[in-house]
Amino acid sequence: MDNRIPAVENKTPAVEMRNITKAFGGKVVANDKVWLDIYRGEILALLGENGSGKTTLMNMLSGIYFPDEGEISIDGREVVIRSPKDAFSLGIGMIHQHFKLVDVLTAAENIVLGLEGKLDLKAASERIRAICDAYGFQVDPNQKIYDMSVSQKQTVEIVKVLYRGADILILDEPTAVLTPQETEKLFSVLRTMRDDGKAIVIITHKMHEVIALSDRVAILRRGQFIGDMRTADTNAREMTNMMVGRPVTLNIERPDPVDPKPRIEVKDLTVRSADGILKLDGVSFVANAGEILGVAGISGCGQKELLESIAGLQSVESGSICYIEDDGSRDELIGKDPLAIANMGVSLSFVPEDRLGMGLVGSMDLAGNMMLRSYRRGHSVFADRRAPRELAEHVVEELEVVTPGVLTPVSRLSGGNVQKVLVGREIASSPTVLLTAYAVRGLDINASYTIYDLINRQKKNGVAVVYVGEDLDVLLELCDRILVLCGGKVSGIVPGRGANKHDVGLMMTQLGGTAHE
């Protein structure tokens, strides 16, 4: 254990994990003899690429998995954690990436759900308020979950864990769904909790968050513990190199637009959801060929509806979406389904937000998923299985997809590799329009840069790219122009070069922001 730093000034660790090994299906060793110490009064950032075993390790601490080997001690006492209930009784609480809340119940009801003893919602609400006051949360115990924003739901999850008396908190990619402002608020709460003596572990891929928030970082690579160090003593480059295992560059390339000319023209697009809620309100913009148009906005501001309208998956109330050919001829896309759009000869690729639920079929293998785009080819009643298989092999090789083979179900792959398969398939059809929604969500640095690179290559090939993103830093570095949505309306379109993060953040929360009135 050469690169372990001396224990934080002879304090006993709150958690000691020793020699933890966990294998899935024999060959895939998710954790290999991992050592990890977690201290009270400290925020530990757990870093690693996709599939490096961070979540698995934390799941063992929170009782979801049981380690194949190794010991866990809490406050110096060896313990056995068989279930999430055991974990709670030891004061360990985990906030998962996917919230586990019951939509139709209130915050208070969700928080007390599953607890033993008499149900006293009034007393529970009191305690919830007390917890909120102590840490500066804003939760209305009587609000229904379905009425809440993503960040409010996350707050409920955190309060739920605190309510159960957790003083060792694990957060799995908590900022993936938050705006910069919400992230800042979360961080200040986490700092308060740290100062209160709680032990906090945060899993994240975003380097600037690691640097801004954590006291110590621990790095996993391919299931092995690589080292830990004080955040103050390191930097993004060193951490990334340790994660990846070789030096990497951290600049996103932004080539100049290639011969930009209008490709998709959206005019006064208005969309209502099935239950009548206005999702897009008079949205107009032009996406140029050879250019990346970024779309920024708080999550749920109409990004999904915008992309799905263009892709022919969303019924539109009014407005027009024109596809403009190279020779200037225009075709209306509204009212056409994806098949009709493809039959018009428009090669439109779409990387949806919900990768396994929409873009791919989880239980099918890589080759079967490649077939989704190509199976209709030819007049035979039989589907060609060879070409998709070759494409799958090509994508695996080209994009360095980590998989046992092209016959592995994609749901078995880690998030980054799933995304590579999806993006690989979508760009394989040499599109003229590429729509991407949260293309790098949940992806590690290495995979993210692979995706940026792929998107840039499409841009250089003259593809009109629409990039819906959540990380403003990336949007500002990658995109040529940024369309900012606010509550379903266009708050403004700013050039990516020279745009200011603060201004764009403001435009996301109020129409026109302040800088562009």
């Binding site: 299906g25 949806p352 873009g359």
Partner: protein, 366 residues
């Protein structure tokens, strides 16, 4: 605190994909265990020698050429219905209306044979019979599919209810066509002319049915695994949103697949009425529409596997009737044995995917 008291006795983990012989070893072991448990049950409950009971079960299926033919006939019909419901199941459309679709196929066949028996040349009559049975089954299957596609009704309830309507329809027409009047049954249709009866191949009464089902089995395997339609069925079953994303018309696939499912059920009904029984009763299906659900699931919706799973079920059924006559046991006793065997076979799938890690030992327990 004592650590061993706290470590769980075992925990479950996913195992690496087993080579085929490993999986078969586990399945074989499960079958062996099942037979041992059945032997204990037999001795405890009946006091009989389990080996002689097993012998009798085997005799019931293969004891004579006739018994073997009956076994294969039953196997063919059960397999046919199982194959019929499988495309729907692959689409996650729970068609438990196989009974009704079969009955309608049988009803259509009987109608053709009775009403057109002396009006058409025999070859044409057979063609008309076959076509109308297929059409009747297909329509009966497509009705719940249309409702599912248009209004997202629950297909499980819908197909189940359609069974009862089918039974009542058949009961009604049995009275209409009863011979002699007041008998409450149809009797053998066209007994003297044999009009509309499917031809016998050589002197083997059941051979045609068996061959027809063998061909359907092969076609279904190819259809599901190699055609564009089969692929669309799989995509729709796994994720409707993905299907729409890729431009598959989900409603059309649902209706099309249920037309097929119902059509093959109709064939099964026709094989019973025109092929072997030459009569129509409300119980002619023998519950196979429901048994088929189990056969299809046990085989994980793989047509080739279904040959084996339907064989197992039919084999045990035939054995059951044999031991009830030979030993005077209730045929429910054979159901107990079937239950035990199924329990072990289904349970063995768990051990093919997962392993138990016992406390302190690295050994696996199968």
């Amino acid at each position: 605190m004592n650590k061993t008291a706290h470590t769980p006795l075992f925990h479950v983990s996913r195992r690496a994909p087993l080579p085929w012989y490993g999986a078969w070893a586990i399945r074989g072991g499960a079958l062996l265990l099942a037979l041992i448990v059945c032997a204990f049950v037999t001795t405890l409950v009946t006091g009989l020698n389990p080996l002689s009971v097993y012998g009798t079960i085997f005799q019931g299926s293969f004891g004579s050429a006739r018994r073997a033919w009956v076994l294969f006939q039953n196997l063919a019909i059960l397999l046919c219905v199982s194959l019929a419901v499988t495309p729907a199941f692959r689409m996650r459309f729970w068609n438990i209306g196989g009974e009704g679709q079969m009955l309608l196929g049988g009803l259509a066949a009987a109608a053709c044979m009775i009403l057109l028996g002396d009006r058409l040349p025999n070859w044409l009559l057979i063609v008309v019979t076959v076509v109308s049975s297929i059409a009747a089954g297909a329509i009966w299957g497509a009705i719940p599919a249309v409702f599912k596609a248009k209004w997202n009704t629950n297909e499980t309830l819908f197909t189940l209810m359609m069974n009862y309507i089918a039974i009542q329809l058949v009961a009604y027409f049995i009275i209409v066509w009863e011979v002699p009047k007041g008998a409450g049954k149809i009797g053998i249709i066209n007994q003297s002319t044999e009009a509309g009866w499917l031809p016998m191949l050589g002197s083997y009464k059941y051979l045609l049915n068996i061959l027809v089902v063998a061909v359907i089995c092969a076609l279904m395997y190819v259809y599901l695994n190699y055609t564009k339609h089969g692929y669309e069925i799989a995509v729709v079953g796994e994720s409707e949103r993905t299907a729409r994303y890729i431009g598959i018309k989900v409603e059309r696939v649902i209706v099309r697949t249920m037309l097929l499912s119902g059509a093959v059920c109709g064939v099964a009904g026709m094989l019973l009425v025109a092929g072997t029984d030459h009569t129509l009763t409300t119980t002619i299906t023998g519950g196979r529409g429901f048994t088929a659900v189990m056969v299809s699931w046990l085989a994980k919706f793989d047509p080739l596997w279904m040959i084996f799973t339907s064989f197992l079920i039919v084999f045990m059924e035939r054995g059951a009737s044999q031991i009830s006559t030979d030993f005077g046991l209730s045929s429910s006793f054979a159901d107990i044995l079937t239950g035990v065997i199924l329990f072990f076979i289904i349970g063995s799938e768990f051990f093919i995917t997962y392993r138990l890690n016992l406390r302190h030992t690295g050994k696996e327990a199968d």
